[in-house]
Symmetry: C2
Subunit: 580 residues, 2 copies
């Protein structure tokens, strides 16, 4: 095996990190292939030596790490419609998770689920797409940390299809392949419905169910309709104190967050990849019944940049809080493990157990026990459609608000503040000219004019900083909801597929494909699914009302302060002029 390699993408070394800057097309010599963590040690033609990400290079006579495709995201070309949850406030282009609900919707569902290639559940996947140069282009709009070259390479990181967080281009995003059915082998075209590997609704509708154990999930009928059983006190959890850790003898570093649940008041440390592991488990287990919002995007550039860390922490906090507020998620074994493991051993054992859990995909419905009479299929269908319409409409509304909010952010931090600055400068310049007149008794006017000018410069600064104080939270909340709403098409399509299956019951009995008894079972189970969906919608609504009430108040409070503070500043500036 030759030790020469060709560089596929530009890579800029992070200073003081033992890395080597390489250029696309350059030929380098691999001096140590056993570094691990996705790195190799290489030497360039000038004799400089350092670490290079192995995904950036191609061995000249063979492939490294199982070979790699030429285009960075070709691995994901089968998922053109996967919902993405970009954390930058970018309107999503192209892939629209709502498309199945449009015109030719109904049974004609997501082709993205039809032809998923096998993705290995463990072992390193080449982190293609991460270093797409477009990722480095942050829009000015939002506090994306500048295009620094900080990069962390998590070893044993399974999936690195992250976007730059604020990237304008759409490359694959985290969780894109983490849909139900993305692990293990595929079973194609079992019936005319889209294939849900391990979670095709028939698996549950026709399964012989084991007796419900301690994992039983209860649904009651409350004032607003079916609701999950809520715990007496709501779990809360603080994500704080991000710390830089290091491994590989200090060569590579990472960020660890301190997670402290109120129940134990004892901190556990988690890296982003642990959050991601949790996300995958929750998605796999509950995704058919409960929309599991994606984690904040994995940031590639500037990962140690202070502002980015703060931002990610804030978003991880938001994600964890949302999970804590969910009665089913918060009481789940895997979530509790994540928050309360006592030592490495318990964590590793718990991990293994969770990964072996077989009650995943649509089988989650088998653990759900609604204390309510069975529902007619037409009622089930009507409700499902109504939820679809609502979530689609809200998705549109949220995106509209995000779009105008983002534009407003740009205007406040860009042209508007510059204009106030220019007004301030113009007043001050005029004041300096007046000072040069040599005329007696200028001072009162020029002092006041200078003060007015400075006031407008201060206003410029207030205007520039304001979005961080109010618009930020409005956008963050709506962004979170955009992510959450983006999960509904998946969840709802499971229900729609099941409804279609049940509606075919008579024909299937006639064709001897199922027994009359099985048909009755299906009817009962679709009713259970519908209660679960209703409980989830009611959970969503109550949270939504709480969240929007809170964020609107916060926004308006800060807006009031904003306008009042400007008025006060101007009042002071005014007082400096001679009263006529």
């Amino acid at each position: 095996m030759a030790n020469k390699a060709q560089v596929l993408y530009d890579f800029t070394a992070e200073p003081g990190n033992n890395e080597l800057t390489v250029k696309e097309g350059e030929t380098i010599t691999i001096t140590n292939q056993n570094i691990g963590g996705g790195w190799v040690e290489a030497q360039n033609y000038r004799g400089e030596r350092g670490l290079v990400p192995e995904d950036y290079i191609e061995l000249c006579t063979g492939s490294l790490a199982g070979g790699r495709a030429a285009t960075p995201d070709s691995t994901y070309e089968y998922f053109p419609e996967q919902p993405s949850t970009t954390t930058g406030y970018q309107a999503r282009n192209g892939s629209d998770p709502w498309s199945p609900w449009n015109a030719d919707s109904a049974g004609n569902s997501r082709n993205s689920w039809v032809a998923q290639p096998e993705v290995t559940g463990s072992g390193r996947t080449p982190s293609t797409g991460i270093y797409n140069p477009t990722v480095q282009e942050h829009p000015q709009a939002y506090h994306g940390p500048g295009g620094t070259d900080d990069e962390e390479w998590d070893d044993d990181w399974d999936d690195a299809r992250s976007t730059g967080g604020y990237a304008e281009s759409e490359v694959g995003d985290e969780g894109a392949t983490n849909r139900p059915g993305s692990h293990g082998t595929m079973k194609l075209n079992l019936n005319k419905f889209p294939v849900f590997h391990k979670s095709g609704p028939e698996v549950y509708l026709l399964a012989k169910l084991p007796p419900k154990g301690k994992d039983k999930i209860s649904i009651y009928v409350g004032e607003v309709g079916p609701v999950w059983l809520y715990p007496e006190s709501q779990l809360e959890c603080v994500v704080a104190d991000p710390k830089k850790g290091s491994k590989m003898y200090g060569l590579k570093s990472y960020i660890e967050y301190q997670v402290t649940p109120t129940t134990t008041n004892r901190s556990v440390n988690h890296r982003y990849k642990h959050f991601d592991w949790l996300y995958e488990r929750l998605l796999e287990k509950y995704g058919s019944a409960i929309p599991i919002p994606s984690l904040p995007d994995k940031q590639v550039t500037g990962r140690f940049e202070e502002e980015f860390i703060k931002m990610r922490m804030e978003r991880l906090q938001g994600w964890v809080t949302r999970m804590c507020r969910h009665p089913v998620i918060s009481s789940s074994e895997v979530f509790q493990l994540f928050l309360t493991y006592k030592d490495e051993k318990e964590w590793k054992m718990g991990k293994r157990k969770a990964e072996r859990d077989e009650t995943v995909g649509v089988m989650i419905f088998s653990t759900i026990e609604p204390e309510a009479p069975d529902l007619d299929i037409t009622v089930v269908e009507t409700k499902c459609e109504a939820f679809g319409r609502f979530t689609k409409a809200m998705d549109d509304g949220v995106k509209e608000l995000l779009s105008v909010g983002q534009e407003h952010w740009k205007r406040c931090t860009g042209p508007l503040q510059k204009e106030y600055q220019r007004i301030g400068k113009a007043f001050q310049n005029l004041s300096s000219v007046f000072c040069s007149s040599g005329y007696e008794g200028e001072a009162t006017l020029t002092d006041a004019l200078t003060a007015a000018g400075k006031t407008y410069e201060e206003i410029a600064q207030i205007v520039e900083e304001q979005p961080k104080k109010d618009l930020h939270f409005l956008l963050e909340t709506n962004n979170e909801y955009k992510g959450l709403l983006g999960c509904f098409p998946d969840t709802l399509s499971v229900h729609k597929a099941a409804i279609e299956k049940v509606k075919e019951g008579d024909r299937m009995v006639a064709a001897n494909k199922i027994s009359p008894q099985e048909k009755l079972t299906m009817a009962k189970r679709i009713s259970t699914m519908s209660y679960a969906l209703q409980a989830e919608m009611n959970h969503f609504h109550s949270n939504r009302i709480y969240d929007y009430n809170r964020v609107m108040q916060l926004y308006l409070e800060e807006q009031v302060k904003f306008y009042e503070s400007i008025a006060e500043k101007l009042r002071q500036a005014l007082s400096q002029f001679t009263t006529l």
Copy 2:
């Protein structure tokens, strides 16, 4: 003489005004050439008949009204550097009256004064340039009345080189040829200085002066230096109550303004052309010593549009007020005539007398009597240069403020208010979606969210209307000052030319061009000129301090109200949300 004519420019008839719409290149038949007022009656190929401005057409076998050049402003190509006083808040491009004060300044003065063609002082001048199509394009920025086709053609109107008031292009502007020396025949190259016909400084410096009569203008040395003699009470004057009059048997109409001085409290009526006549007289008589600001531009389009009339009245008021505040102007015979004539006969007699006045141009200095010791030429020169620097610097400062103010105006009335509207709409849309949830207990949130949305729509309106309440006066004042400052280069160059002349005194005596006595006379007279300039500068300074103090207070007061009113609206919107 053929009665066919070719149409040179598009002309759109004002409905109900007996006019005929014609297109460039069209051939029409002149049916009556004796209409007057710049109009001819014509018939098109469809047999339609109506009035057409004679300047829009060219007789096919000869010229009408003395013929006309092909390019609209070719008449003014000799005045590339004439200061223009556009009333729209457009930064002036190209022609910069300050250029003589730059690098290669000094004696190398304004070529614009060298080669002025004779302009008839009475009789109609073809109104070239008025209908330049670009004039009809109003920038959105300022409340220019839309591009209507209203047009008034004053008969016996001498000079119609007006711009559209808000025009972005620079065509000749009123007063452009009304500089000292623009009437009567030219005298070229009497010496190496720029030629000031009738007002070349030597005319005064070397003239045999008549004894000072009742027109004597006094200068005292006050606390701030030389000052004009101010009257005990300042003249004030109200321009109000614009009325539409008509003539030519109702075919043509015009606007008459009521002018009421506080001294008599008796109104006189004046059309714009009377103001313009006054302006020309003042410029001719006092322009060498006192900068006479141009009148607001003669508006071509939308002349009867309500907003335009209001705007012109406001600016005429501003102009008259400024004249009233000037002790020399306000007490002048011609100004008093304008304000207090008793009947048509007195007006006409006064007009004739004023037009025959010979104490014009630099001869005005012969009436000035400073009660102060003669000044050394170096002092005179230093002061003149200092005033030049100051007025140039202030001109820059004023233009900067106008430029940013205009931009701010556009932003407030354009993108900013649209953005607030969109924010308002986004909140309301989200509220409607929430209403459709079918979830119990939405109402409080949705009502509050709708109210918040409406509040932002109201804010949009406030933002859009605000510039008219504050920025308007700031821009108007600065615009007035821009016009005033644009007159200084002319006034100052008279002084500079005189200084150069006096500095040459010894050489001229040696060359026997002047007698030693004449040299002494010149020295005394330059001193008088300098006192006049100082008095004028001090007048300018005291007015400037008053005006800027006033307008800044007004601006800031309205700005405070603006921000307070928005804060109050938001506070109300906030109160509708449930307290958490």
